[in-house]
Structures are given as structure tokens and as C-alpha cells.
Symmetry: C2
Subunit: 201 residues, 2 copies
């Protein structure tokens, strides 16, 4: 019992120290403006994290749009849900680039959705834009990096942008406010488990 | 023009090689069953990735539930959206543990939602469960690790479980099928930007 009491006291002291630190940081962080979030790395969960952020924004009644580059042509659960709840989707819809194997057609398809992205990145009524798998488009030279950077840094002050995909170009990391790298520790696929509805698509 | 043609040919050959590799892996991966996904690490995007997976499942008409441990007491956008679309939430709702500073009350609150989690982990009608920030509960000894492991490994065969939070216990990593570690490269908060509606909560 004495031990339990001591444990509880130590817990309270430790939590009080954490609270002071957290409160101090919250007081310092006073700026509100649109931010750029980049979620990169080779692990599972980059696009799902982007879609989680879109769900969060839509749930608050914000106006959100999704631009999907290199997307498989199958139906996606998140699209069903988010479109029903007012989120706009613009999807490249050519399928993976190793399925099409046609560079010129891929470039044309990428450019077509990129024009939609540019329009939204100039629209102050759009609160949040997810540029899903944009990194590949830049790395493959399907979309010009400078054009992407210009559109992002000149966007409306309160607009948030989320960019996902492996190997984000270092200039994208530089202009980002928040960067997370998702690393794969292991993946069910490697153990012979199929991609499954509801978790993988 | 010759250069462009060569580029396009090289692209096609490269993509053909990738397609063969991807197709071979898809053919090998034939098993379908519920999987355990752990999203850990210190970076932003773990919970949002969990909620993205829930949005995906809900969008496919699957039955999904969310158990939230150590949750701030503010309203969350994703909860609004997902609850409206049939997802059940069970929230510890005591706020962060450094706010309550009361270990016994925290344990009681954690145990209460853990009972809901156990019930769902035994329910074959539940297709997917998000155990948001469960890792802390195990690390703080608020919930017994063995009890968590037992509930997860004895769950219905087709049920998916997603676990988020920093410092996932190695036994959780061992029983997981997919593990991603989200590392923080930088965070807007460190640059003095406030937590904002629609991206942070």
C-alpha cells in the first residue's frame, strides 16, 4: 500500500513536469496558417495517413480535395466514404505506371490531374488538398518540380497541403512544415498475405 | 526525337521488369485473413493513418470500431465523420495523462475502455478495430500485456486490428503482420505553429 502510494506520487510529479513542458510549448506555438505536410518513406501507411487527415478536415466541415497520382484502377473504400461526404476527387486512373508501360500516356494523364491540382492550389475556398503519391510524378519528371514548388508556396495563406509518396524530393522537404518518414519494419504481403479490401484498398 | 523514343523504350522495358516482379509477388501472396497492423514511432501520422484505414473499411461497408486511449477531450474531425457513417467509438476521454496526473483514475478509465475492446476482439461481426494509442497503456502498465496479446491472437480469423502509438512493445511487434515506424523529420509545432483544426485534431 505504501508502495502504491509512492508510485502514485511519483506518477503525479512526473506528469506535472510533462504538463509544464507541454503547456510552455503550446504557449510558444501561436501562429495559425496553412501548413505543408509531407509523408514519405517506404513503409505502409503514407496514403492512409493522408486520407485520415482528409477525413479529419471533412469531419470539421472544411472543404477538402484529393488529387491521386499513379492510382490503381480498383475501387477504394476511402474514396466512397469521402466523396459521399463532400470531398472532391481527381484521379489519374491510368493504373500503376508498371501496368501502363507507356511513358507518354502517363505524362499526359499526370499533367491532366496536375492542372486540377494547380487550380485548387490557387483557390482560397479549398481548405485542404491531398496530393497523393505526387512524389513519384516529380521523380519521374512527369511534372516539373519548380512548377509544383511555385504552386505550393504561392497558395492561399490558410490552405493546408498534404503530400504522400516514397522518396520525396529534398526541395519538397525543405518547403514542408511537417515531415514524417514511414519506415517498413515488416509487411503482411511478405508473409504471403494478399492485399485485402478494407485494409489495403 | 530519337532520344525521346529511346527514353520511352527504356521506360517500357523497366516497367515490364517491375510488372513481372510485382505480378510474381501477388501470385505468391494468396492468403486472406485478418491482419494486425502496428503503426509506431515518434512522428506525426500514426493515429491519422489508423483513422485512414478505418475510413477505408467504413467506405467498403465493413463494420469498424475505434477504441481511443489517452485522448484529449476536444472534438475530433475524424470522429464526427466516422460516427455519422456507422463507426462505433469508445473513448477513454480523461484527457492526456499529464493533464489528469491521477494514476488510479487513469487506470480505471483505461480498464473501462479495454473491456469494450476485449468484447469487440471476440465479436466476429466486427471487421476492423482501431486500438488508438494502446501502446502507452501497455507501457504504463495500465493494461496487462498478456491480456492484450491473448485477446488479439484469439480474435476471429478475419478480423483486422490496427494499433497505434509510440514505443510499441516488442511482443506487439512480434504478433503483428505489418509494422510501420513513423519517424519525425520535422514538425510545424517546433517552428511555432499552433495545432490546428482539420490537420492536428
Amino acid at each position: 500500500m505504501v508502495d502504491e502510494n509512492r508510485k502514485n506520487e511519483r506518477h503525479q510529479a512526473r506528469m506535472q513536469r510533462i504538463k509544464e513542458k507541454v503547456d510552455a510549448r503550446i504557449n510558444q506555438a501561436q501562429e495559425e496558417r496553412g501548413i505543408v505536410i509531407v509523408i514519405t518513406g517506404n513503409g505502409k501507411g503514407k496514403s492512409t495517413s493522408g486520407f485520415g487527415t482528409v477525413a479529419r478536415a471533412v469531419g470539421h466541415g472544411l472543404s477538402a480535395s484529393v488529387i491521386q497520382f499513379i492510382k490503381g484502377t480498383w475501387a477504394c473504400g476511402e474514396r466512397n466514404l469521402l466523396e459521399q461526404n463532400g470531398c472532391q476527387f481527381h484521379v489519374m486512373a491510368t493504373g500503376f505506371t508498371w501496368e501502363t508501360q507507356n511513358r507518354e500516356a502517363d505524362i499526359a494523364a499526370a499533367q491532366k490531374v496536375w492542372q486540377e491540382a494547380k487550380r485548387l492550389l490557387a483557390d482560397p475556398k479549398t481548405d485542404l488538398i491531398l496530393l497523393d503519391e505526387l512524389t513519384y510524378m516529380v521523380n519521374y519528371d512527369y511534372i516539373d518540380l519548380d512548377e509544383v514548388i511555385d504552386a505550393i508556396i504561392n497558395r492561399p495563406i490558410n490552405q493546408h497541403v498534404v503530400i504522400t509518396g516514397r522518396g520525396a524530393h529534398r526541395t519538397l522537404l525543405e518547403i514542408a512544415d511537417t515531415v514524417s518518414e514511414v519506415q517498413s519494419v515488416k509487411h503482411a504481403f511478405e508473409a504471403g498475405i494478399k492485399a485485402q479490401k478494407g485494409v489495403d484498398w
